[in-house]
């Protein structure tokens, strides 16, 4: 990473002001903080300003946010230059943030970097067609699926130079793309599907039953009473020699049984493994996969994949969505073009 500076004056817009909707949204963010702590809203506001300005932060936006929050300009500049998620120079329609931290690096981020270098040139420059710009950033927190990139708001994981190239071609051409793992891996489970905990007896209760049987047989053989006495004696002796501080459970989070887990099903007398679960473990069609595809999670996740891929998508709700900014709003295709137009 190199020094981050504001874009040259020639690229800076003359002025910046939040659109009425964004200004409303910003007020909502500011209201979350107590009087005198309004500066806490600086990151959401900068993020919104970046979104409104076509994905990058101009000088006037930094000043507008500073003035709105009553902060000295330098304080907001400090924040904007600290985080690489704030682009200080114009970005392409698709802004690729390539993770270059150790796990990604050891899984091949360097090849991705070389590929991006070859295809797009030096980082921080918008490609000639205006489609792409890229930047190597520090850990984006998807190490299990390394190497990965963030393109605008979405993570694309398990990449190879070829799959990243295809992805970029698809994005540029406006074809639908798959968010998340590009090898079809489900969330962050091992590559090629589950390799451990595959024994069916783990889930049908038969193992637990066998162990219990063994203890029951043993205690019957030794005599219940003798064992009880021994246990009591040894516990008392231990308590005297190694006093331990009691750990009261009051106020602690209590673990509740999962609603739909193999063990729970076994306890309820059902078959611990649902029919077809093993088949679902196939990466192409698993429950987790279905979550990603939006079936159980419903409208919110579905909206994600409906995003117009050629537009700069809106930011996710920063620091917790508030009621006045509905989550469904980003999916409105008619709202998107005006947000991407830098002239507005």
């Amino acid at each position: 990473m190199s020094n981050r500076r504001l874009a040259p004056a020639a690229e800076q817009p003359e002025s910046f002001a939040f659109t009425p909707e964004n200004a409303d949204w910003a007020r909502g963010q500011i209201e979350k903080y107590p009087e005198g702590r309004q500066a806490s809203a600086v990151i959401p506001l900068l993020w919104k300003a970046q979104e409104q300005n076509g994905g990058w932060l101009p000088r006037r936006a930094i000043e507008a946010v500073a003035d709105e929050l009553g902060m000295p300009h330098i304080r907001v500049l400090e924040v904007a230059t600290f985080y690489t998620m704030f682009a200080l120079e114009p970005v392409g329609r698709f802004w690729i943030q390539l993770c270059g931290t150790v796990p990604c690096d050891s899984c091949g981020a360097r090849e991705l970097k070389d590929m991006l270098h070859a295809r797009l040139g030096a980082p921080g420059h918008v490609s000639a067609d205006g489609n792409f710009s890229w930047l190597e950033v520090e850990c984006l927190g998807a190490c299990c699926n390394a190497p990965m990139v963030q393109i605008n708001q979405d993570y694309y994981e398990d990449l190879t130079p070829e799959s990243l190239g295809r992805l970029m071609d698809d994005l540029a051409a406006g074809r639908p793309v798959k968010v998340g793992s590009q090898t079809g891996r489900v969330s962050s489970e091992p590559q090629g599907g589950a390799a451990t905990l595959t024994d069916a007896t783990l889930f049908d209760g038969s193992r637990v039953g066998a162990w219990r049987q063994r203890f029951e047989d043993k205690s019957k053989a030794e005599g219940e009473e003798a064992r009880g006495k021994d246990e009591a004696a040894s516990t008392e002796a231990r308590a005297a020699s190694e006093p331990k501080i009691a750990k009261p459970d009051a106020g602690r989070a209590v673990e509740r049984p999962a609603a739909d887990a193999p063990a729970q099903r076994a306890a309820d007398g059902d078959a611990p493994t649902k029919a077809g679960d093993k088949a679902d473990a196939d990466v192409l069609d698993s429950p987790a996969k279905r979550v990603v595809e939006g079936e159980p999670a419903g409208a919110e996740a579905g909206a994600q994949s409906d995003l117009p891929r050629d537009a700069v998508p809106p930011q996710p709700e920063a620091s917790g969505a508030s009621g006045d900014a509905p989550a469904a709003e980003p999916s409105k295709p008619d709202a998107a073009p005006s947000k991407t137009d830098p002239a507005t």
Partner: protein, 690 residues
């Protein structure tokens, strides 16, 4: 109080002390860069690491409280080791990290010789580096005319950032970027806007921020250092005047907890080049409308010829803003001997009368006393420009806890939040009548403080109204002196102490400078006024400014760095300036000039040396002998007397006498550095007005 062992020495310290403070109590030296007693704790340089028994790794002693230390297994006091192997290794490691990117340019670095990093690398570092890669290169920044940057040297202690944000209250500096790319800069490299910005160069522990005006000119070991006091404003900040040979090279602050702590304003720090140029280095005589160089004898003869044929009622004496007590005393003695009653020192037109008592014209609560106040009313005062360091103290008080500040006068940014009440005398009247809720705050305060600024001193009725208000809100009690006058000139309080005001039937300042009022005017350094036509003006001063250009005889005197002189600051604190160099050319110390002149005029003053002068002065004014202390007057009686003056308050708007902070006296006006500061400040003011 908590017991703690430091290197085996048990000390008993308050629980909220940091380990660093506890170690210092025990006499152990802890190296540090980012930590500064008067700034918030940052804990980012890691130089102060010490071994704490029981802690898994060394702890940063500046940011670790004594109360957070765990006792030993059997309840022994916690133990800190500042000389152990772990501590030594930690310090060496930190120093090696700091030096990874620090350039080895000590031979050309202005900080060389008084550099914390240099000293601590010698004391706590190792002799070589294991780092073979290239060092980081950082672009230089423009952050103003007073501080030059060499950002390669920056170790990111953020002292400068914290100083401007906390003490100065003008947060212009910040750290942009992160990690290795962190850089200290101002927003888009604009000049810093604080009138205290020079202090960031003092605070910088390395050579990243160095004073720009004396760049590459001096080395600390070639300077002779003289402890003195500042005369640029009435605060009387403690300074150290560094001279090389006979030339003053720089002025640095000295610690004086009662006045300036360890900061000074830029006007105090940078009149240095003004001390060299525009100097009056020989007497001048006006002949045919032009001043020509003359000898002392000629000049004195011309004065004697003029004075001897003049009625004492047509002679007057003025004392300006920079005169020391000694020369004021000498001038007063001479004028008394001549039978002259026309004398005045109140160049700003303040209608203060020493007859009201000393407490009526000094800043009674004293500067440290501000920290005890819980509500402040500023009447016709802009402390930020009139007494910057006093403003710093008010800001310090505001940072300590809730403080209500009300301002009547010019609307301005005082660097702390305040209630703007109004612009003129009618607001004061309305406030006194209870037409403003701020009166309730003042009345509810335990120790309210009323500060009357120079702008409110032109009318005794306003002063009386302010005093009555102070009395009304309970600002003046036997236990609390909550009434203070804010002067702007270093000479003023001393001259008022000497009663340098019109004698029986004498004319005041305005009367004396009126055209045709007098035949002979003796002007001791009054440059903010022009004596009217008709008078024969004898100007004694240091710089070719307004006073000298109107003069008929110019007598070259010594500036404050060139004489031993007593000054009384606005609190009434008597302080002595010391000689760091000699006056240029034929210029002489002012009291000696007056002594020589008195001989020529036939009224020889009864002292032949400074010691004899002071002996006479102390006999007449015993409080002048108490250097460094404030003689508290009877504030209750003085404020009663002031309030009793009464009078109709004329409707007027308060206007500060300090129009341009950087150019308030002839020395400052001669300085190019301060001229640049002034033009930048004007630009900022214009921009703000748009």
């Amino acid at each position: 109080m908590t017991k703690i062992l430091v290197d085996g020495i048990e000390v008993d310290v308050p629980a909220e002390f940091t380990l660093l403070q506890a170690c210092e109590m025990a006499g152990a030296e802890i190296p540090r860069f980012c930590f500064h007693e008067r700034l918030s704790i940052a804990g980012n340089c890691r130089m102060c690491l010490v071994e704490l028994k029981g802690a898994p790794k060394p702890v940063a002693s500046c940011a670790y409280a004594v109360k957070d230390c765990r006792p030993g297994p059997n309840g022994e006091p916690p133990e800190v080791l500042t000389r152990s192997g772990t501590t030594k290794k930690a310090r060496e490691g930190v120093m090696e990290f700091l030096l990874i990117n620090h350039p080895l340019d000590c031979p050309i670095c202005d900080q060389g010789g008084h550099c914390d990093l240099q000293d601590q690398a010698m004391a706590y570092g190792v002799d070589s580096t294991r780092y073979g890669e290239n060092k980081r290169a950082v672009e230089e920044k423009y952050i103003g005319p007073l501080v030059r940057t060499a950002m390669n040297r920056c170790i990111h202690c953020t002292r400068c950032v914290r100083f401007l944000a906390e003490v100065a209250g003008v947060p212009d500096l910040g750290a942009i970027g992160r990690g290795e790319d962190m850089e200290i800069t101002s927003y888009l490299e604009e000049a810093m806007g604080s009138e205290l910005q020079g202090n960031v160069a003092d605070l910088c522990p390395v050579g990243a921020l160095v004073p720009k005006p004396q760049s590459y000119n001096i080395r600390p070991w070639e300077l002779s250092k003289t402890e003195s006091v500042d005369v640029m404003d009435a605060v009387g900040s403690a300074i150290r005047v560094d001279a090389r040979g006979r030339e003053v090279m720089q002025i640095e602050p000295r610690v004086n907890e009662d006045i300036n702590e360890e900061w000074i304003s830029d006007k105090t720090r940078h009149p240095v080049d003004g001390l060299r140029v525009q100097r009056l280095d020989r007497p001048y005589l006006r002949e045919n409308g032009r001043l020509r160089p003359a000898s002392w004898g000629e000049a004195f003869a011309a004065i004697a010829a003029k004075v001897k044929g003049t009625d004492p009622k047509r002679i007057g004496a003025l004392v300006g803003d920079l005169a020391g007590v000694e020369e004021t005393y000498a001038l007063k003695s001479l004028m008394t001997a001549l039978g002259v009653a026309n004398r005045d020192c109140r160049q700003g037109g303040e209608r203060l009368d020493p007859a009201w008592g000393r407490a009526a014209y000094v800043f009674n609560p004293t500067i440290p006393g501000i920290e005890a106040a819980d509500a402040i009313l500023l009447v016709g005062a802009n402390p930020r420009t009139e007494a910057s360091l006093l403003n710093v103290r008010i800001r310090k008080r505001w940072r300590m806890g809730p403080l209500a500040v009300g301002l009547i006068g010019e609307a301005t940014d005082l660097t702390y939040p305040h209630t703007y009440l109004g612009a003129g005398t009618d607001t004061l009247t309305a406030l006194a009548k209870g037409e403003h809720s701020f009166l309730e705050i003042l009345k509810g305060a335990e120790r309210p403080l009323v500060i009357v600024g120079a702008a409110a001193l032109a009318d005794p009725a306003v002063l009386a109204a302010a005093a009555a208000l102070a009395k009304d809100v309970g600002a003046v009690t036997p236990a609390w002196n909550g009434f203070g006058v804010l002067h702007t000139a270093a000479a003023r309080v001393g001259a008022l102490d000497l009663d340098f005001v019109p004698g029986e039937g004498g004319l005041g300042f305005a009367g004396m400078i009126a055209p045709g009022a007098l035949d002979v005017v003796f002007n001791l350094g009054a440059d903010e006024c022009t004596v009217g036509a008709g008078a024969f003006v004898i100007y004694q001063g240091t710089h070719g400014d307004r006073g000298a250009s109107r003069a008929d005889v110019v007598l070259p005197g010594a500036a404050y760095t060139e004489k031993s002189a007593t000054y009384v600051n606005l609190e009434g604190r008597v302080q002595q300036a010391n000689r760091a160099g000699f006056p240029p050319g034929d210029a002489r110390e002012d009291w000696a000039i007056l002594r020589a002149l008195s001989d020529v005029l036939g009224h020889r003053l009864p002292f032949d040396s400074l010691v004899a002068l002071r002996r006479a002065l102390y006999a007449e004014h015993p409080h002048m002998a108490a250097i460094g202390s404030v003689e508290q007057g009877d504030t209750v009686a003085a404020v009663d007397r002031l309030a009793g003056l009464g009078g109709e308050v004329a409707k007027a708007t308060f206007a500060s006498p300090v129009l341009d902070f950087y150019l308030t006296n002839p020395i400052a006006r001669a300085s190019r550095v301060l001229a640049e500061c002034s033009s930048l400040a004007r630009g900022r003011a214009l921009e703000a007005a748009e």
